[in-house]
Subunit: 228 residues, 2 copies
């Protein structure tokens, strides 16, 4: 069975994001996948990249350089245990699903902190092992999120621009950089402004998509996909 | 004298980001500006958007909706004191400077958390008051940051794509959405891979730019600027 890690960032289990997460757990488990959830708010996950992430002495205590310290700590096995825990989950996963509400054209800070702190050099990339030869190649990722703005606002020519514009930093800058292949995003537009019936349809559509997810081809993660 | 708020996100005062921040404080003060710094790591600024941001009872305790609760709390004056403090600084500022190292094609989580928590509906925007009629119009913003990748990697056609692609969510999605006009970003490429002499030149270039900053015209924050 395939392994899936869902990194979930919503405060409220009763939210649409909570339901989308629950549906993914149910549907993928039904398929025989083994599913792990990192429920970031429930874990009170720490988003700040600080000296606390390194256990024991620093490589250079004179001038603190987070990226370099985390890399060195990874190599000598002295990253803080919450990071080691997340890295183990990533390492074992065939597919990473990120489930969150879009905050300011991007991820909520708690999820950005997961990216900042978990995907350290040495573990997820190590020059020249980036992009197509990133260390997490052979894994898949899928960004599943809800928006405040409507589909029309996020259309090409709409006031907020094509929704794909804002996917570039997340899909290309993070996932592709680490070698992860990206499936089409799953976007629920403006669930707060639609009917209860429409929200139910959104849940059904997600469950339907998950049924054939493993047959999907990754997107061609190049500027053309985003900005053509 | 004009008022400037520098929102600064680096752990180490001796870093290039620390120097860039210090130079901005010195140069702008010399010009007679009144300069305030929010040093997010030193403040141990909370990046997570949670129920703790609302003092007292919730508007709807049955199903926690952060955006709605923060909006309601803003209206009745019951946002947590750290947010009120930051909002006062924003309200008084003519110019916001964001100084940070680029983490994963975006801001460090601690700075994203500042955006998520401080720029609440009612304070920074309130439909239809968004984009050109956002509530923070007549203010300016400038993103000043360092990168890990080189200028060549962030060129159009380079492996990481035009650096402007990744500015869209920050400059358009956040600042423009709130009505803030955006000055050209200030980017120091790959300071860790250049000579001490080159790093000194980066500091001098920033000081020079600040001398005539108030004469600058904002960019035309539309898709053409980013993706043309």
């Amino acid at each position: 069975g395939r392994k899936v890690l869902i990194v979930y960032a919503h405060q409220e289990p009763k939210s649409l994001n909570g339901s989308l997460k629950r549906i993914a757990v149910e549907e993928l488990s039904k398929q025989g996948c083994s599913v792990t959830v990192s429920d970031l708010y429930a874990m009170q996950f720490e988003p700040r990249a600080t000296r606390n992430d390194i256990v024991g002495c620093l490589h250079d205590a004179e001038e603190f350089d987070y990226g370099m310290e985390a890399w060195e700590a990874y190599k000598r096995g002295s990253l803080s245990s919450d990071l080691v825990e997340e890295q183990k989950k990533v390492q074992e996963a065939d597919l990473l699903i990120f489930q969150f509400p879009l905050y300011w054209f991007s991820m909520p800070a708690i999820l950005k902190g997961w990216m900042d702190r978990v995907l350290v050099q040495g573990f997820a990339h190590e020059f020249p092992n980036c992009y197509d030869s990133g260390l997490l190649k052979d894994k898949l990722a899928l960004f599943s999120f809800t928006t405040g703005g409507s589909r029309e606002m996020y259309a090409k020519g709409g006031i907020s621009g094509d929704i794909r514009y804002l996917l570039w930093p997340m899909q290309h800058g993070i996932m592709h950089f680490c070698g992860v292949k990206v499936l089409e995003p799953h976007i629920c537009f403006a669930p707060e402004y639609v009917s209860e019936e429409n929200r139910r349809e959104m849940l059904i559509a997600w469950a339907q998509r998950l049924k054939t997810l493993w047959n999907e081809e990754p997107i061609n993660c190049s500027p053309e996909w985003y900005f053509k």
